[in-house]
């Protein structure tokens, strides 16, 4: 049984079909990448999985139960954690307080007290390398640090499935490497399935994902092992129009 299963999921906004009949299976502990150009429906797909939107049609299953109609907080407690493309820290709160919210209300919801949550928070703050900023207000972080905070908050939820929306976008190559490495490490240690979506940073996807799906205009175009998919001509078309891959 897959950890996450989407069965013909669609979402429209007025006349626009942002996600069109997408089916997908993610296994436990898998690393999966979603790529696709601007506006191809990646973020909308995440919003459907995390419960911000309900699909207009199709069904969603997670960890053996249907979650299509569950509110976001229930899905989070079941083990779906996510980061936002544009970081949404709790600005006035400290880094520690931000991450503690994840620990308190994620899969451990109701099982731990504030002190243990703060300990978990400290652990993941260390993991993402924000240790020195842990008592700073989140709004004073740099853009890259805010992305790391998003990651730490989601990890502190102890999710089974982690949805990362463009975490490495806007980072320099050194930071990208560091963050990809750390995601891979935590994923192995905690057996989290990670679904990361990226618009462009293809090298990061190659380094990270075993399988990827390419989205185009709301539809799933192809899905398969990462390298295979990236070599396909039609994938190059989506990204570069009529031309071939650079260098060809």
């Amino acid at each position: 049984m897959p950890l996450l299963e989407l069965d013909g999921v669609s979402k429209r906004f007025g006349g626009l079909i942002a996600v069109n009949d997408v089916s997908l299976k993610i296994e436990k502990g898998e690393s999966f990448g979603i790529v696709g150009p601007n506006g191809s429906g990646k973020t909308t797909l995440f919003n459907l999985i995390s419960g911000i939107y309900r699909p207009d049609s199709g069904r969603i299953f997670f960890d053996g139960q249907e979650i299509t109609e569950l509110p976001p907080y229930r899905r989070a407690q079941l083990g779906i954690g996510r980061s936002f493309q544009i970081p949404r820290p709790f600005k006035g709160a400290t880094v520690r307080e931000n991450v503690a919210v994840g620990a308190l209300f994620g899969t451990l919801s109701g099982k731990i007290d504030v002190d243990s949550a703060l300990e978990i928070a400290d652990h993941y703050i260390e993991v993402v390398g924000l240790h020195e900023k842990r008592n700073d207000e989140a709004e004073r972080l740099t853009a890259v640090e805010k992305k790391l905070l998003e990651l730490a908050r989601a990890l502190a939820m102890k999710p089974k499935l982690l949805l990362l929306d463009e975490v490495v976008a806007g980072m320099n190559p050194k930071d990208v490497d560091r963050v990809v490495d750390l995601i891979k490490r935590v994923k192995e240690e905690e057996e989290i399935a990670v679904v990361a979506m990226v618009e462009h940073v293809i090298p990061a996807v190659m380094k990270f994902a075993e399988r990827i799906m390419v989205m185009h205009e709301g539809r799933k175009m192809v899905e398969g092992p990462t390298l295979e998919v990236l070599m396909m001509d039609e994938v190059a078309m989506v990204y570069f129009g009529e031309s071939k891959l650079p260098g060809e």
Binding site: G51, A76, Q77, P89, G92, V101, V114, E137, M157
Partner: protein, 327 residues
């Protein structure tokens, strides 16, 4: 333990100072009680407005229901003797919390601005209900002064309405402060912080936002009800709908919370102190014109300190050794 005790130190100092000033001479008690009412009011509203960032334009309805709760205890259960006061507070709690649950269960599913709009009708609606169907004495209200004299005799009645009622407000405010410290440090406080800062992010992190908003709303309503029961019914010995449903108190409460610093512990105390002091003294110096002076002053203070006076102080003491004392 220390995380509860240390933030209470400034609160205790402020409350004690106020109490000592009030007791120091006969003429000072009235202004102190007047100020204390606003401090307690600010603290009650802060539990909701400060913790969630949601504005309730019908807030005064909770004070009104609390004051009716106390009045109904006197008018219907006068045979209880001194216990009638306790029953009055219990009724105040029940009536204000029931209203908050009814309004909250419906309106708190809405987001900030929509909630605010939805609440505008609540207070006026309740007032028309009371006056229209002649509920609880209709527009004539409930007068408890003679019942009070029958039960307690005139000396004790006098003592209750000129001193005990004020002390009760004091106690209610102090308990509210204590509860606020507890909430801020608890799971509930983290949930409310997350909801206030970014409700969508809070939800996808597992926070059942509606539940925590309703909890904050009900707690805030209960304290408002208790204040209404003592500062209005016990102190004035009557309840008139046009007084207790007066939207001015809602506006004043919001101003106090914003002025002092929404979501902080000492903010509403400071806000109530500044606001109550200004109103009281300006009404003796410039009777009738006090709002003309208070309004621009408030605008000025809020412009200088957008996070409120104590919000500003809290930020200033961050990463210093005072940080644990100002929350």
């Amino acid at each position: 333990m220390r995380r509860y005790v240390r933030p209470m130190i400034p609160v205790i100092i402020l409350y004690l100072t106020l109490l000592l000033v009030g007791l120091s001479s006969e003429s000072r008690w009235q202004p102190v009680a007047f100020i204390m009412f606003y401090i307690a009011l600010g603290q009650a509203l802060n539990m909701f407005l400060g913790m969630t960032g949601y504005v309730d334009f019908g807030y005064v309805a909770f004070l009104a229901l609390g004051s009716y709760g106390m009045a109904l205890a006197f008018s219907s259960f006068s045979s209880l003797g001194l216990w009638v006061i306790l029953l009055g507070f219990v009724l105040a709690i029940i009536m204000s919390s029931l209203l908050s649950l009814a309004v909250g269960a419906i309106a708190l599913r809405l987001r900030g601005a929509y909630f605010a709009i939805a609440t505008i009708g609540v207070n006026e609606g309740f007032r028309y209900l009371v006056e229209g169907v002649r509920l609880w004495g209709g527009s004539e209200g409930i007068i408890i002064s003679s019942t009070m004299k029958d039960i307690f005799g005139s000396d004790l009645s006098n003592y209750i309405s000129t001193f005990v009622a004020d002390i009760m407000v004091f106690v209610i405010g102090f308990i509210a402060a204590f509860l606020t410290v507890y909430i801020i440090n608890s799971r509930i406080g983290y949930a409310l912080m997350a909801v206030r800062e970014d409700e969508d992010a809070a939800r996808v992190m597992g926070v059942f936002a509606t539940k925590y908003k309703i909890m904050a709303f009900a707690m805030s309503a209960i304290f408002a009800g208790l204040i209404g029961a003592s500062a209005w019914t016990l102190k004035l010995t009557y309840v008139f709908p046009e007084d207790v449903f007066n939207i001015t108190y809602t506006v004043e409460a919001i101003a106090i919370v914003m002025l002092g610093g929404a979501g902080t512990l000492t903010g509403p105390i400071m806000g109530g102190l500044i606001y109550g002091f200004l109103r009281y003294y300006l009404s003796t110096v410039l009777p009738g014109f006090q709002l003309l002076v208070v309004a621009p002053l408030l605008v000025l203070i809020v412009t200088i300190f957008p996070e409120g006076v104590m919000g500003y102080v809290k930020r200033k003491v961050r990463n210093t050794r005072f940080e644990k004392y100002i929350i």
